[in-house]
């Protein structure tokens, strides 16, 4: 295709722009340049061009890194022929992407921020479709003696011991949740900034890498932890507190606000995730025999 276009361009376009003062040493360079422009444009157009049915879903690193999407999206595509392109960001960034209209569907986990998003008219048709839970991981030796069920008590102990704690610090859903528990524990972690409280300002994975390297405590969702490989000396220390539920919501970017949103395809995806089939697909995803996400639409 490119070759043919080059030939045509050389004949037509070049003929059109033939300049009277072309010289022996100028011609070759010029035609090469023109062909290069043509090729570059064709290449750019070729890669941009996609005839397939697809939607863009702004989602979080936890759903992507844990492998959930890799499991459920092929099932959805097999059924509907719709390709789901996932852009995995923190919840804060995912909502910002959607606000600009750069996604069709949002699939995130921060109830408070999601409610605000819908209230401000950026999203419609929000549904709560699944949950997993948060855990606190830390060094197996547990210098702060924080192990147990109660997340608030555990955070207090970590703060009292001034044990190193790595936080996302990136306005993600997990970061927002972590900050809520600190507030409930009546502790301002910012007082420990620069000493024991360390904000990495990055995703869950990089934060866990940092925690692993420093033997620090960290607040994480279970899904990311289970599929995380570079654990070093870290292990789960706090889990099972009812307050640690991590609810995921899915919603359509408001087509009234962004006319180009693929509302029919997007709705189809949301319907499927909430359907018995989609819910079963979520439940069937396991890492090392352990279920990562629990469907709960309509419950």
């Amino acid at each position: 295709m490119v070759k043919a276009a080059q030939r045509i361009l050389r004949v037509n376009v070049f003929g059109m722009f033939t300049r009277p003062f072309r010289t022996a040493f100028g011609t070759r360079a010029k035609s090469t340049g023109l062909c290069l422009v043509a090729t570059a444009l064709l290449l750019a157009a070729g890669v941009a061009n996609s005839q397939e049915k697809f939607i863009i879903v702004a989602s979080t690193t936890s759903t992507q890194d844990s492998g959930l999407f890799g499991h459920i999206l092929p099932l959805f595509k097999a059924k509907t022929g719709i390709e789901v392109r996932v852009v995995a960001q923190g919840t804060g960034q995912a909502l910002a992407t959607a606000k600009k209209g750069d996604a069709d569907v949002v699939f995130v986990h921060d109830k408070v921020a999601e409610a605000k998003f819908v209230e401000e008219g950026f999203g419609v048709d929000r549904r709560e479709v699944m949950y997993n839970d948060f855990v606190i991981v830390g060094p197996k030796s547990d210098p702060a003696k924080s192990a147990g069920k109660d997340v608030i008590v555990a955070l207090r102990k970590i703060a009292e011991a001034k044990a190193p704690f790595t936080s996302r610090g990136d306005k993600s859903g997990t970061h927002a949740a972590e900050l809520r528990y600190w507030t409930q524990a009546a502790i301002d972690p910012q007082t420990g900034k620069g000493t024991w409280y360390r904000e990495t300002g990055s995703g869950m994975g990089p934060t866990l890498n940092t925690a692993s390297a420093m033997n620090a405590y960290a607040f994480t969702d279970r899904g990311t932890w289970l599929s995380f490989k570079n654990r070093g000396e870290l292990a789960i220390l706090v889990e099972g507190d009812a307050r640690l539920i991590n609810q995921y919501g899915i919603m359509l970017v408001n087509p009234a606000r962004h006319a180009h949103v693929k509302k029919a395809l997007g709705r189809q995806f949301i319907e499927w995730v909430a359907s018995a089939e989609g819910q079963a697909a979520i439940a069937s995803y396991k890492v090392n025999g352990e279920q990562l996400f629990f469907p709960n639409y309509g419950r």
Partner: protein
């Protein structure tokens, strides 16, 4: 140390059995950065040549700025292109965000100054040497630039390769404008970043080694073409 050895083995293994995922990602990397280089070179080489020959007030300042732009932070370029291509931005209706074309554009902006600045230096040095000769042929400024560009093509190819190296190795810009979408905009560098964030450090490093290997291969090929052409056409 053991991690590094493991990565070496893994890198070799991935390439040996031509892992289909790896092939797809590596191909996209080369396409995106190749497109970026074409786009940038077509604009930057003439610009560099023009700047080499032109004389105007403030030329030194333009050169200084151009040289400085060689250090453009990829993440800033990514943000800029993101804001331009976003649906809420001026070029939003094109729907280019999160496509390989957007990645090529971002990389092209990133490497334009590198190619232009290096070309400017090469052409200016050649201009000093051939000036009398070209002017005696009654060539116009632009014809001189063309002749020098063609004459210096072997030296200029190094500046283009430098641009390619920078484009194919950067992650900050393509992550933002491409979105690292599996099978659509995931390239070598964003895949490396992803595997790092999953804590699979050996795989991440293995992918890095594959990328380095590919870039070296391309430079070998370029070198071979260059010496062949030089022997034939002098």
């Amino acid at each position: 140390m053991q991690d590094i050895l493991q990565s070496l083995g893994l890198a070799f293994n991935l390439m040996w059995r031509l892992d289909p995922n790896l092939v797809a990602i590596a191909t996209l990397s080369l396409k995106v950065s190749g497109g970026a280089v074409l786009l940038a070179a077509v604009l930057a080489l003439p610009f560099g040549a023009w700047l080499a020959l032109a004389r105007f007030p403030g030329r030194d300042a333009v050169i200084a700025v151009l040289n400085g732009m060689m250090g453009l932070p990829p993440v800033v370029v990514g943000l800029l292109v993101y804001l331009l291509l976003s649906r809420a931005g001026p070029l939003g209706p094109l729907g280019l965000l999160f496509t390989p074309a957007a990645m090529s554009i971002a990389q092209a902006i990133l490497i334009f100054p590198i190619i232009a600045a290096l070309a400017r230096q090469v052409i200016e040095d050649a201009w000093d040497e051939y000036r009398e000769q070209l002017l005696s042929l009654n060539a116009t400024r632009w014809q001189c630039a063309e002749a020098l560009l063609w004459d210096m093509r072997f030296s200029l190819s190094t500046s283009v390769l430098a641009g390619f190296g920078r484009a194919v190795a950067e992650v900050g810009a393509v992550m933002i404008v491409g979105g690292n979408i599996d099978g659509v905009t995931r390239v070598m560098t964003t895949a490396i970043a992803l595997e790092t964030s999953k804590g699979d450090l050996p795989l991440a490093l293995a992918l890095g080694l594959v990328l380095i290997f590919l870039v070296v291969c391309i430079n070998f090929a370029a070198q071979a073409v260059k010496s062949y052409a030089r022997r034939r056409h002098g």
